[in-house]
Amino acid sequence: MPAVTPSSARLKRVNHAPIADEDLVLRYAGGDAAAFEHLYSRHRGGLYRFITRQCGDRGAAEELFQDVWSRVIETRARYRVEARFATWLYTLAHHRLIDWYRKSSRVVWVDFGREEEGIDTENAVEFAAGRSAQPEVRAESREIAMKLLVLLEQLPPQQREVFLLHEEGGLSIEEIAAATVTPTETAKSRLRYALAKLRRGLQDLT
């Protein structure tokens, strides 16, 4: 995990390997504020990128990002160690995104349902144009990275979500299925399609 910015210097890079995320949550639920800081430092970047690259709006992404962590804070006492914390965190993020999709006037919400293989656009959420024109992405990334991000943006939302949950959240297929409330095979096929499309896109671009 990269170091936190200086303004949050207290969130120093610490090897938290001995302390599991689940223990940190339970400690925080017991009143240990420092445990939350450790937990936040571990997952802030991945969750931020997941939300940002899902909704395409930095301002909205920050709001959603803050909402997700607020939800973690408010429901800390109800956390049960039946699933990994990452799964719980990205499940909250997924549901928050769904809520935002439904409320945002820029998005046409279409019910997510089971997908037939190869037909992954029937139940897709369409995003308004402009999401791909993130200036900071094009300015900062290398050519391949930039192309990849472009390709990522062009993925169907379900596939993109699965890809980001896998890459940013580190969730397994089963955990992705649980977070997105979809069957495991559906989550597996979505990830497979996402990876295939990104590879083809990079090959086409090169």
Binding site: P2, V4, T5, P6, S7, S8, L11, E22, D23, L24, L26, R27, Y28, A29, G30, G31, D32, A33, F36, E37, Y40, R44, G45, Y48, R49, T52, E62, F65, Q66, W69, S70, I73, E74, R76, V81, E136, V137, E140, S141, R142, I144, A145, M146, L148, L149, L152, E167, L195, L198, R199, L202
Partner: protein, 296 residues
Amino acid sequence: MNDSENAELRRAYAATARDEPSPALDDAILAKSRSAILTDPRSAILTRHPLGSLFGTPASSRHWSQLLAVAATLVVTASLVLLMQQEIPQIAGLAAPARDTAVTPVAKIPTEAVQATQVAPSELSPREYKPRSSGRVDVPARDQPPEQTSQEREQPVIASPQLADAAKSAIPAPDRQAFPGARPAINEAARASVATPAPPAARAESSVQRPSAVAAAGNASGSALAERRSPQAAESIARSLVNPGFAKNDESPEAWLARIAEMRKQGRVKDAEENFAEFRKRYPDFPVPPAKAESS
């Protein structure tokens, strides 16, 4: 093939811009996390308490908190048990003095003790309470002062703290089986409390039978005897009760000496010595034949 291509794809993705939340966003979220702890009563207590970290709910902390709870329960239970064990003897002890201080119960002590000695002769120490082979009447029955009224019996009890002490030892007549040590204590207490022993009747008889002895003792001893008569009457009762081997009320000094000699012939040296010591206390000026004096 796909796995390697996927790995390359993932590496390419990892190299993309790593967008991070702004510092202001970080601060806002962290501030909210801390305020949530402060506003939560349960979390606040655990945070401020020195042992609050022990009661945090990580799995390991929960384990320790459970162990502490079990340990605390055991400590409290053990303390209660020990406290009850200490209080039970105290409560039993509260009842015993009530019997000691009461006049009527104490007055009954001699009779009860006498009855106890009569009832359980098998418990008597062979050395101290050996049945008389001479066929004499049991001492306890003889030692009962029928001429004494209940008031007379009571008065010595009240006047004599030594007798009260001996009586306390003799009180638990039914408990003689439980406290066999009381008998030796009675003997020791009786001996210790005796200064000039003599039951009233015995002393009266001896004074009647041996007026010469009293006169021979001189005015000082006679007056001493007279002074000691009342306080020592109760003592003599106690002694006669605890050791039926001592002189009886109607036994003359000569007879007593003869009995002492007989004890020695029978090999009862200890009894003989005790009786002679008692004889000397009662009749300090009684002339003892040299032979008997040496043998005693």
